[in-house]
Each structure stands twice: as structure tokens, then as C-alpha cells.
């Protein structure tokens, strides 16, 4: 039997953090004279109680976690806080059902941004803050996981991003601490910068902070039903577009930059692909907006860039209701949703580097057809890609495709139409948010879906967020055997 105490420890710490975060909306509501502050306060107390219970009740002298314990911690470290985060929504003025609240909380924490709430503009500010706080915390958790946990677990090719073995001069723990500090600093710093810029561009202070939080985490919760379209300001849209693009960058880059290694950024093949693909998408959508919708070229570029950046990074903020666009832009957005951002970012999806690996491998395949006996090795950033990494990536891709197909089929089985099922499944797995079509498209809402569909989608979000294998491995019988 696996020793569960270290797992409970981790979950306990996370719950305590969550309880701490709940204090913020409580304070805000208290200042606004909203009676809802009590809900947040009680929820915080409850969460803190359980958190401390887990933390103190399972104290252990063992410092290191085994692989199995890491898997359990990574899976339940998302699920349990997700459920506790739903508390304020159940007992607040919204009176959401348990399903809706859990959906909303998990959607927030996984930085998906799919919402069941309508009428955001009139909600108390505490709840709005809570939603974007979930985005922000979730984004931080994703980066931490992508930098520290997944590479060591060798999930889906992430082992290529193992931190290099530190030299003898520095100790591993101090280095890890430094990396964590730099990344946390960069994350908070970019959030602050964005908030400042948005405030100067004309948002109120609260709106600026809220949108900065949900932008950098590529979450996508907004304070208005019309999302960014509500503000109708070019400056705000451009700032948020930049914020989303930054959210899709590998955050380890900031660490390298902090060590004066700025050139590494330019030489990184992943970034080139990321920007290249995004630019292609923007060109396509912009041309369509000019040609079919008759927008002025600059307006088209602004909206096109915003939409493509939002979909590719899995943010889900929007300026135009692109769910009804149909045809070319729909296809572009649909496929870009699968691509996602870079490794070690807050984005979901398959991620750019996996496509690079596969593309490199396909090219090598082609050369090998002509020269059967040549030794050809695919490379990534001038490093050879080991065979087993390719295997991992392919396994990942296969499971991704399989879960997409299964989820889409299950959703359709519950009565969703073709487009809603297909794009809803893609959007949940990629932690994007809106789908296409009239129901769950941008500006729509997930509220009308059947409860079972909401649970499936929430499960899909979690599944996609932890890169699938972390959860999948729990279902292997050998996992539980000693």
C-alpha cells in the first residue's frame, strides 16, 4: 500500500493557500458592504480547517516523495482544491447548484474559463475577484507543475525540459529556490505591469487587476458578459493580446533572461514556431474579417490578432462573438485550439514543442525512405531527441486524440449537437473555454448543458490540465500493487 501521508501533506498545503486566497474577496466584499463577505469568510474557515487537519494530521518525517505519491499529489492536488473553491459559489447570492459551482471552480482553477454564470456585470465584486483569483492561482500551479513535476515524471516528452544538472558550485536546492523565486516574481511582475497598463488604458482599477490576472494565466474569466468586447477600446485589446502571448511563453525563459542569457530566447526553436503559427492564424482570420465582414484592415487586424491569440493560448477572452463565424476562421481556430502554447507556460493543449518533435521525426522518416541505411536523428534546438521521448510524445498525442474522440462522443450521446460536442471537447481538453456554435461559442454559456455533460467537461479540463497521463496512470493496476 502506498503511504498516503505525503500526498495529504501536499493537499493540505494547497488548501491552506486556497483559504488564504479566499480572504481577499471576503475583504473586498466587506469594504463594498456586500453581505456576501460572510460566505467567503466561512468558506475560508472551512477550507483552512480541512487544510490544517490534513497538514497536521499526517505529519511525517519522510521528506522525499516517491513517484507514485507524486502522481497522486498531482491529480488530487487539482481536484480537491477545485471542489473547495466551489464553496463560495454554492452558498453565495448566485445559489449555483453543486454541479454548476464545481464546473465553474474547476474551469477557473484549470485556467479554462468556461462559465455557467450569466449576468457578470451585476455580480458583487467579491465573486468576480474570486473567479479571476482561481485563474491566477491555477496558472501559477500549472507553471510550477510544468517546470518542477512533469519533466521528472517524463510525461509526454516533457523530460526534454529537465533542468540541467547544476554545476558543482551551486547546490540543487538553492538553484531550485532561485528558479522558483524568479518565476514567481516574473509572474507577479507581469500581472502587475499588465494591470497598470490596463488601468492607464481606461479600465477601473478593479477591472484592470481582474483582467490582468485572467490574462497572464490564460484563464479567460472576465468581469463582463461581453468579455473584452464590453470595453470597446483598441488600447485595451492590444495590451491584453500581448498579455496572452506572454502567458503562452515558457516561463523558464525569464530565469534564463535573469541570468543575462537573452540570446537563448532568440535561438529557441519553440518560440519561432509559436510565433510563426500564431502569425499565420492571424493573417488568415484578418483577411477573412476584411473580405467577408468588411472590417477596416486595422480593425480586422486588432480583432483577428486578439481572437487568434486568445484561442491559441487557450485563454478564451473575446472581443467579437467568433462562435458564429463559420468556414475558414472556424477551421483555423478549431485547429489552433489543439496546438496550444509553449512548454512551461500556463496554456493547455498539445503544446508547440510536441508538434516540433513530431515534425522533425516526420522529416527524418522521409529522408530514411530514400536512404534506408543512413543513421538520421531528429533534433530539437540542436539537441538530439531520444527515441523514448518520441515514443512519449506519440503516446501523448494518441491519448489526446483518443480522449478528444471519446469525450466528443460522450457529449453527443448526452444530446449535444455535432459542433457543440466536438468543439466543447476540444476546448475543455485544451483548457480554452468557449467553443464554436451558438450554444457554447464566445458570448454563450455552458449553463444550459445537461449536468452530466458539465461533469464530463470538468473531468476533461482536469484531464487535459495534468497532461492526461498523471491521471491515467492511477488506473493502471500495477500502480496500486507493490
Amino acid at each position: 500500500m502506498i503511504d498516503l501521508r505525503p500526498v495529504f501533506q501536499v493537499i493540505g498545503v494547497l488548501l491552506c493557500l486556497l483559504a488564504g486566497a479566499m480572504v481577499m474577496p471576503a475583504l473586498l466584499d466587506l469594504r463594498d458592504n456586500q453581505p456576501e463577505w460572510q460566505v467567503f469568510a466561512v468558506s475560508a474557515g472551512l477550507t483552512l480547517f480541512f487544510g490544517l487537519l490534513l497538514l497536521l494530521g499526517t505529519r511525517t518525517t519522510q521528506r522525499r516523495r516517491s513517484i507514485r505519491q507524486t502522481y497522486l499529489a498531482a491529480s488530487f492536488g487539482w481536484l480537491v482544491p477545485g471542489l473547495f473553491a466551489a464553496l463560495p459559489m454554492i452558498y453565495g447570492p448566485l445559489q449555483l447548484s453543486f454541479t454548476d459551482a464545481a464546473f465553474e471552480a474547476i474551469s477557473g482553477l484549470t485556467t479554462t474559463g468556461a462559465s455557467v454564470i450569466h449576468g457578470l456585470d451585476n455580480l458583487p465584486r467579491g465573486l468576480l475577484l474570486w473567479r479571476v483569483l482561481l485563474n491566477w492561482l491555477g496558472g501559477l500551479g500549472v507553471i510550477a507543475m510544468a517546470v518542477a513535476v512533469l519533466p521528472d515524471l517524463a510525461i509526454g516528452g516533457m523530460q526534454m525540459f529537465r533542468l540541467e544538472v547544476p554545476g558543482p558550485a551551486e547546490r540543487a536546492t538553492s538553484r531550485a529556490n532561485r528558479i522558483a523565486t524568479v518565476i514567481l516574481g516574473a509572474y507577479a511582475g507581469v500581472t502587475g505591469g499588465l494591470a497598470l497598463a490596463l488601468w492607464m488604458a481606461g479600465m477601473t482599477g478593479f477591472e484592470a487587476l481582474a483582467h490582468a490576472m485572467s490574462t497572464i494565466s490564460t484563464g479567460g474569466f472576465s468581469t463582463s458578459d461581453a468579455s473584452i468586447g464590453h470595453f470597446n477600446s483598441a488600447a485595451i485589446e492590444v495590451i491584453i493580446s500581448f498579455g496572452m502571448v506572454i502567458g503562452g511563453l515558457p516561463f523558464l525563459l525569464f530565469f534564463q533572461m535573469s541570468r543575462g542569457n537573452a540570446k537563448a530566447m532568440l535561438r529557441d526553436g519553440q518560440l519561432r514556431w509559436y510565433f510563426g503559427l500564431m502569425a499565420l492564424g492571424i493573417v488568415g482570420v484578418t483577411l477573412w474579417l476584411v473580405g467577408s465582414r468588411g472590417l477596416a484592415p486595422l480593425d480586422a487586424l486588432r480583432h483577428g490578432a486578439f481572437t487568434v491569440a486568445s484561442v491559441m493560448t487557450g485563454t478564451g477572452l473575446f472581443t467579437l462573438e467568433y462562435g458564429q463565424w463559420g468556414g475558414m476562421p472556424a477551421a483555423i481556430l478549431f485547429f489552433l485550439a489543439f496546438v496550444g502554447g509553449c512548454a512551461g507556460s500556463t496554456t493547455g493543449g498539445i503544446k508547440v514543442f510536441r508538434f516540433q518533435f513530431l515534425f522533425a521525426d516526420a522529416l527524418v522518416q522521409m529522408r530514411r525512405l530514400l536512404r534506408p541505411h543512413a543513421v538520421l536523428i531528429p533534433t530539437f534546438n540542436r539537441r538530439p531527441i531520444p527515441e523514448e521521448v518520441l515514443g512519449s510524445v506519440m503516446g501523448f498525442l494518441f491519448v489526446y486524440a483518443l480522449s478528444f474522440a471519446m469525450l466528443a462522443m460522450a457529449l453527443a450521446f448526452l444530446g449535444l449537437d455535432f459542433i457543440t460536442a466536438l468543439t466543447g471537447a476540444a476546448s475543455a481538453l485544451a483548457n480554452l473555454g468557449p467553443g464554436l456554435g451558438s450554444e457554447i461559442g464566445a458570448g454563450g454559456s455552458y449553463a444550459a448543458l445537461p449536468d452530466a455533460a458539465k461533469w464530463l467537461l470538468a473531468g476533461g479540463m482536469l484531464f487535459g490540465r495534468v497532461e492526461m497521463f498523471v491521471i491515467l496512470v492511477l488506473f493502471v493496476p500495477a500502480f496500486w500493487r507493490q
Binding site: 478549431f334 515514443g391 459542433i419
Partner: protein, 482 residues
């Protein structure tokens, strides 16, 4: 520079076969007193002339032998040139198709896709109807020979597994290539004759029975009625189900020695999955139709089995408008298009054995997560799969999805709507035929698509039929360098 003479020489023989085939509809038209017989006669003579010109103009001195580069060129050239000449009768017959439509129809026929632009089949002259089915049949024969003889040699997409089988002296499969080709052709002929007799016994006219046998065993899907197989009754449809299943099974396995009246095809891992897929999804959809759409159980089972078999074997016959079965059925059919039949059959798609290997690979990735230093081996039909084979399979599947996405995008760019583009691209790549949606759905027609879209689809059919890499390799720089 590559010596193209041997390529043209062999190509000439293939076109001679095509010219000879044109004689058959000519005779049929002559007997039934239709003026189109002249068109077929002249087209046959033109084709024969060009064929002979190639044979005599490019006759090599000694025995003709092909290098692998020439083999790549031959496969592509053979399909393109035969499709071009096969289009001649469509242009000059009473149907008066445009060049685009004629090439689309011919390509769709030869690649055993079965997507049609002709409306009014019930009143079309017999010659044309027979010609379409003949194209299916010849294309099916060509693809089986290619899959068994050429692709394993070229090591396309993991097909070398089957090469090893045929070169292994102790194995059940006859080693010599010509012998294999002859016996496969005989089996193919025998199945066609059996199917024709069964169709006739089930109540079809002799001519219709012949045509449908040709296009069922080749998994082509051209029919002699606009209503497709919905025009005929229950018995005919059950016969078609069996004929399609045989067409989608591995033909190499039918020619091995039978043990106790048991063909080796029944002991093959691929066949088991193939039957499981068809059975599972047919059952599921039958249940869906029975419970949700109130079809009577017998009818539901027949239509579900028919449609699933038709899509999985990439035939494209239609017994009822399954596009109207609701969201669930549409998603299922969309996903099924990617499955494909067995290798060594006339079916297209990704093919079952590749899915099996991918599945095994994902399983290994999962196991390796728990035991990072374990050594895992994939078995397929009781033999170990070397990693080079896995690599090719991965390359193939990745390219397959890239191609699907790229062509779907291209279709939307020329003005096709989202569903039509997505399902059309998937359907053309897998050589299925009908897509989803109002335009190209099971009861629709490709006629109203824009011209460019037809060319794109025709190109995609060819790509899918030749297993992508055969064509893609011609576009690589190293192919043309010495």
C-alpha cells in the same frame, strides 16, 4: 537525375490495362444500343496509343528493374495518369461533365473513394455506370497489389511488418511476388463473382448486381442509383454488408493455407480488432437508433451495421441518411472515418494495425511512467515490433492528421463551410466518400462544391490512397539530389 524510362515503361502497361477496360463499357453500350459506345471506343484507343508510345519509346535494354526512387515515381505517376485518361469518357459522353468534374469522378473512382458529382444515375447509360464501377474495381485491385508488393518494400508507414512476413520462408505466406499478386487477384476475382451472384440472388438485376459487386469488394462505393443502396431492399443490404467486410479485410491472409477449413484471416490480431470495432459501434448505434429514434430493432440493426461497415471499410455505400440520426451518430461517424480497414485490403484510412501499435505504444508509455528503467517490447501477432517500424507508424499517423487539418483549412479558404470542410477532408483522405452536413452528407452530392474544392479533394484522395509518404517524398529536396 533519375532515369524515367523504366517508370514510363511500366506505366505504359498499366495504361494498357485501362484501355482494355474501356472496351468493356463500349461493348455493353453497343449491345444496349447507346451512342456512348463510340466515346468509350475512341477513349480506349487514345489511351492504348499513349500506352504503347510509352512502352515502345521507353523500352529498356535488358530486364526492367526499378530502384526505390523510380518506384516512388511510378506509383504516383501511375495513379495520376490513369485517373486523367479514365476521365476521358466522362467528358465526351452524354453526361458532358466539365474537366474538373470528370477528373474528380475518375479520381474518386480509381482511389475507391466513391464521392460522386453525377446526379441522375438511375437514368444514366449503362456504359457509364459500368465504367464507374470498373474504375472502383481496378483501383481496388491496384491498391491491394500496391499494399502487398510495393509499400512494404518502400517501408511506408510501418508496412515493413508485412514485408517481413512475406519474405520469411517459414511463414505461411507465399514468398514470390508474382505468385502473391496472381493469387490475390484470383481471390479478388472470386469474391467479386460471389458478391455478384449473392446480389443477384438477393433480388438485384443482373447488371446492377455486377456493378455493385465490383464497387463493394473494392470498397469503392459507386452505385447505379442516386438513392444508393437505399434503392434496394433488406436482403441486398445484408449482402452488401458482408461484401464490404470482405473488401476491408486483409487479402494476403485469404491466400494462406487453410487449416481445418479455417482461413488464416480468422487468427489475425488485426481481423479481431476490425470485427470488434464494427460489431461494437454497430451495436451501439443500433441501440441508439432503437431507443432514441424509435426505429424498430431489426431495421435499426441493419442500418447501423450497414453504415458502420460502410464507413470503417471506407466504402461509402449508403442505406439510409445516417446524417439525420442526430448529434451522437454524427460524431461517431466522424470519428469512425479515421479508423480505416485492415492493411492489405482495398480500404483506406489510418488502418487498424497502426491503431493497434499506437495503442500498445501508449500502454508502454504508461508502464514506463511507473518503471522508468524498465524495458518494454511491443508484440503484434506474436512477433516483436522493432522500433524502426514504430517510428514509421508514428510518422505516418502524424502526417495523416497534419494532412487532414491542412486540407480542411484549404477547403474552408475556398469557401466551404466548417462541417463540410472537416468531414469532406477526413472522408477524402480516408477514401470513404460521403461526408457530413447538408451538402456532401450521405444523401448529398459533391456537385455543388466550388471547382477549386473539387481539385483539392481529388488531390487529397490521391494522397490518402498512396499512404501520404509516397507522394510527399517526391517533394523533398533529397529525392531529386543525387
Amino acid at each position: 537525375m533519375i532515369d524515367v524510362r523504366p517508370v514510363l515503361f511500366v506505366n505504359g502497361f498499366l495504361m494498357l490495362v485501362l484501355a482494355a477496360a474501356m472496351g468493356i463499357p463500349a461493348v455493353v453500350d453497343l449491345l444496349s444500343g447507346d451512342v456512348d459506345w463510340r466515346v468509350f471506343g475512341i477513349a480506349g484507343m487514345v489511351t492504348a496509343f499513349v500506352a504503347l508510345a510509352q512502352i515502345f519509346g521507353a523500352r529498356p535494354k535488358g530486364r526492367a528493374s526499378l530502384t526505390s526512387r523510380q518506384a516512388f515515381m511510378l506509383t504516383v505517376l501511375a495513379w495520376v495518369s490513369t485517373a486523367a485518361f479514365a476521365a476521358l469518357p466522362f467528358i465526351f459522353s452524354n453526361l458532358r461533365l466539365h474537366l474538373t468534374d470528370a477528373v474528380f469522378e475518375a479520381m474518386s473512382g480509381l482511389t475507391t473513394t466513391g464521392a460522386t458529382v453525377i446526379v441522375g444515375l438511375d437514368y444514366a447509360p449503362k456504359g457509364i455506370l459500368l465504367w464507374r464501377s470498373l474504375l472502383n474495381w481496378l483501383g481496388g485491385e491496384g491498391i491491394i497489389i500496391m499494399a502487398v508488393v510495393i509499400l512494404p518494400l518502400l517501408r511506408i508507414g510501418g508496412m515493413q511488418v508485412f514485408h517481413m512476413e512475406s519474405s520469411d520462408k517459414t511463414d505461411r505466406i507465399k514468398p514470390r511476388i508474382t505468385q502473391v499478386a496472381t493469387s490475390i487477384t484470383l481471390v479478388y476475382l472470386a469474391f467479386t463473382a460471389l458478391a455478384a451472384m449473392a446480389f443477384w440472388a438477393a433480388g438485384m438485376g443482373r447488371f446492377d448486381a455486377m456493378c455493385h459487386a465490383l464497387s463493394a469488394v473494392s470498397t469503392g462505393g459507386f452505385s447505379t442509383s442516386d438513392a444508393n443502396l437505399a434503392h434496394w431492399g433488406t436482403a441486398v443490404q445484408w449482402v452488401a454488408i458482408v461484401a464490404m467486410m470482405v473488401g476491408g479485410s486483409s487479402f494476403t491472409l485469404w491466400i494462406g493455407p487453410w487449416k481445418n477449413w479455417r482461413p488464416p484471416v480468422l487468427d489475425d490480431a488485426q481481423t479481431h480488432w476490425y470485427l470488434m470495432f464494427i460489431g461494437g459501434f454497430a451495436g451501439l448505434l443500433a441501440l441508439w437508433q432503437w431507443t432514441v429514434n424509435d426505429m424498430s430493432p431489426g431495421v435499426a440493426l441493419r442500418h447501423a451495421a450497414f453504415s458502420v461497415t460502410s464507413v470503417v471499410t471506407t466504402t461509402g455505400f449508403v442505406s439510409t441518411d445516417y446524417g439525420a440520426w442526430g448529434g451522437f451518430a454524427r460524431v461517431v461517424f466522424f470519428v469512425l472515418v479515421f479508423i480505416g480497414g485492415c492493411t492489405g485490403s482495398a480500404a483506406g484510412g489510418v488502418k487498424i494495425f497502426r491503431w493497434e501499435l499506437l495503442f500498445a505504444l501508449a500502454g508502454i508509455h504508461l508502464k514506463r511512467l511507473l518503471h522508468p528503467h524498465g524495458v518494454f517490447v511491443i508484440h503484434y501477432n506474436q512477433r516483436t515490433i522493432p522500433s524502426s517500424v514504430l517510428d514509421s507508424v508514428l510518422g505516418f499517423v502524424v502526417m495523416y492528421f497534419f494532412t487532414f487539418a491542412l486540407f480542411a483549412l484549404a477547403l474552408t479558404v475556398v469557401g466551404v463551410d466548417f462541417i463540410t470542410a472537416l468531414s469532406g477532408s477526413a472522408s477524402a483522405l480516408a477514401n470513404v466518400g460521403p461526408g457530413l452536413g447538408d451538402i456532401i452528407g450521405p444523401m448529398g452530392s459533391y456537385r455543388s462544391l466550388p471547382e477549386l474544392a473539387k481539385w483539392i479533394l481529388a488531390g487529397e484522395m490521391l494522397l490518402g490512397r498512396l499512404e501520404l509518404f509516397t507522394v510527399a517524398v517526391l517533394f523533398s529536396r533529397s529525392y531529386w539530389r543525387e
